[in-house]
Structures are given as structure tokens and as C-alpha cells.
């Protein structure tokens, strides 16, 4: 248990946060720009992909997931897996009942 105490003191410097923030702003700019171009069904795919990339940075750096134990990552994977089961089965069901 004492190893948890060590992680507690993990300090992320201000500069790193500013760097991540600039990246997030840049990705936001890309999303807005891309949405103005007519790419058909790809627009939503690109928008969601960029949103996922942004989330990855927020989760890992702002929320410190990168520095947490493996069990936290297992939790996240389980939660996302559950969500995608809901999403997948809803569309599966829909495609059969239509």
C-alpha cells in the first residue's frame, strides 16, 4: 500500500499543461475547419475521431490517468466496453426491426 503514497506526489509542471491545452485548442480549430468542408459521411467520422483524440489527452494528462495504476485503466476499458455494447446492440437491433 505504501507505493500508493509515492504516486500521490506526482507533480505535472504548468508548462506541460499549457502544451496540452494548446494542442487541444489546435484540435478544436481543426474540427471547426473540417466541418466547413463537405466530405459527406466522413465529416462525422473525422469529427468523432478528433473528439476521441482530445478526450485521450484530457484523460491522460488533465485527469492524470497516465500516472494511475493499471486497475484504473481496466475500469475505463470496462466502462467504455459496456458503453459500446449498448451502442452496438442498439444499432444491431435497429437494423433488424426496421
Amino acid at each position: 500500500m505504501s507505493d500508493h503514497q509515492h504516486e500521490e506526489s506526482h507533480v505535472i509542471e504548468y508548462g506541460n499543461y499549457i502544451f496540452i491545452w494548446l494542442g487541444l485548442l489546435a484540435f478544436t480549430g481543426i474540427t471547426v475547419t473540417v466541418s466547413g468542408i463537405n466530405l459527406g459521411n466522413w465529416t462525422i467520422v473525422i469529427a468523432l475521431f478528433i473528439a476521441c483524440v482530445k478526450s485521450w489527452y484530457v484523460l491522460n494528462y488533465f485527469m492524470h490517468m497516465k500516472y494511475e495504476d493499471i486497475i484504473f485503466k481496466v475500469f475505463i476499458a470496462t466502462a467504455l466496453f459496456t458503453f459500446f455494447i449498448f451502442l452496438g446492440f442498439t444499432f444491431w437491433d435497429y437494423s433488424f426491426t426496421r
Partner: protein, 207 residues
């Protein structure tokens, strides 16, 4: 005997690791809460693609963009307030929390004007103007009000959390050696940011 008693008093049981884990488990219930709404959105958008595109033209992308920047920046200042607290710079930590709350208000004021403009145009759940529109548009605006409304409720709760944290810092209950409550409040705030990262392209950027 008295020496061990003394030690026991000072060594209050604390489990920061477990506390953070509990917060994360709570955040997953939030994921499922919003996830359900995102699934409803996905199905109806799939069914009513044209109408969703048409309805989205009514939203102001600039306001959405300003709110995105406000939340991203507030997320950064919330994360930085932990760094400041870890370094023992309590004043700076408090200042950063206030900045975070400030951006939360920027977000809410924007939302107020945005909803206000929609409502004055007769677009609100159950309005005659809205009900006269095709089904897909009614669904779009229904989801818009429910999802951004629930999200804004989370912004308000986040602000209350941070005010509570500021009070506890003042009382000395949160300090450079015990700041897990600040960490957990920041985690909640980042979740609010995460949800907006998806709400913004899904409602504002359909062209």
C-alpha cells in the same frame, strides 16, 4: 499508552487512492448517463439525417466555439490548481480555482444568451413553432435542450464543488499534503469538459 493515543489522533485514517478510485467509479456512472443520451442521439440522427442537418443550422457555431475554449481553458486551470497545491503555493491554487469558476460563468452566460435567443424565436420543447416542424427537427431540439441542459447542470454542480473546495482550503482541511478533494473536484470538472468535447461537434458542427 498516551503516546500511542496521541499518534492515533494525528494519524487520521485517510485513503487518497481509494478516494480517487471511488470518484472514477462515480464518473463511469456519469458516462453511462450521458452515454444513453448519446445513443438516442445516434439512432435519431441516423434515422433523420437531413432534418438534423437542417436543424443544426439554427445553432450559433461561434457561441459553441467560445464555450469549447472556455471549458478547455478552465480544465487546464483546474489541473494547474492541483500542481500549485502540491507545490505548497496555496494562494496561486486558490486563484486558479477562481479562474476556473470564472470560465464556468462565461460558459453559463453564453448558454443563457444562446437558449434565450432560441426561446425568443419560439424554439423550445412543446412550443407551437417547434411542433410545426418535421419530426427530425423536433427530436434534434429536444435532444439539444436535454443534453446541453443536463451538461449545464453539471457545470453548476462543478462550480458548487469548487466553492466548497475554496472553503475547505480556507479552513485548512485542504493543504499541500492533503488535496484529494481538490483532485476529485477537478476530475469532475474534466468530465464536464469531456462531455462537451463530444456535444460540440455533434450539435454545432453538422453542416
Amino acid at each position: 499508552m498516551s503516546a500511542t493515543d496521541h499518534a492515533a489522533v494525528h494519524h487520521v485514517h485517510r485513503d487518497d487512492y481509494g478516494s480517487r478510485m471511488g470518484m472514477w467509479l462515480f464518473l463511469f456512472t456519469e458516462l453511462i448517463l450521458f452515454g444513453g443520451l448519446f445513443i438516442i442521439y445516434a439512432v435519431y440522427r441516423f434515422v433523420h439525417q437531413q432534418e438534423f442537418h437542417l436543424a443544426a443550422q439554427e445553432l450559433n457555431t461561434t457561441i459553441g466555439l467560445i464555450n469549447t475554449i472556455a471549458l478547455l481553458t478552465s480544465s487546464m486551470t483546474a489541473a494547474m490548481s492541483i500542481t500549485a497545491m502540491q507545490k505548497g503555493n496555496v494562494r496561486f491554487s486558490k486563484a486558479l480555482i477562481w479562474v476556473t469558476i470564472g470560465f464556468a460563468f462565461v460558459f453559463m452566460v453564453n448558454k443563457y444568451f444562446e437558449w434565450g435567443a432560441k426561446i425568443s424565436h419560439g424554439i423550445y420543447p412543446g412550443s407551437k413553432d417547434l411542433l410545426a416542424k418535421p419530426e427530425g427537427e423536433i427530436l434534434y431540439f429536444g435532444l439539444y435542450y436535454v443534453m446541453t441542459g443536463l451538461h449545464t447542470l453539471h457545470v453548476i454542480i462543478g462550480v458548487i464543488f469548487f466553492l466548497f473546495i475554496l472553503r475547505q482550503i480556507k479552513q485548512g482541511k485542504i493543504a499541500s499534503d492533503r488535496y484529494v478533494r481538490l483532485e476529485n473536484s477537478a476530475l469532475y470538472w474534466h468530465l464536464v469538459d469531456l462531455i462537451w468535447i463530444f456535444l460540440f461537434p455533434l450539435f454545432y458542427l453538422i453542416h
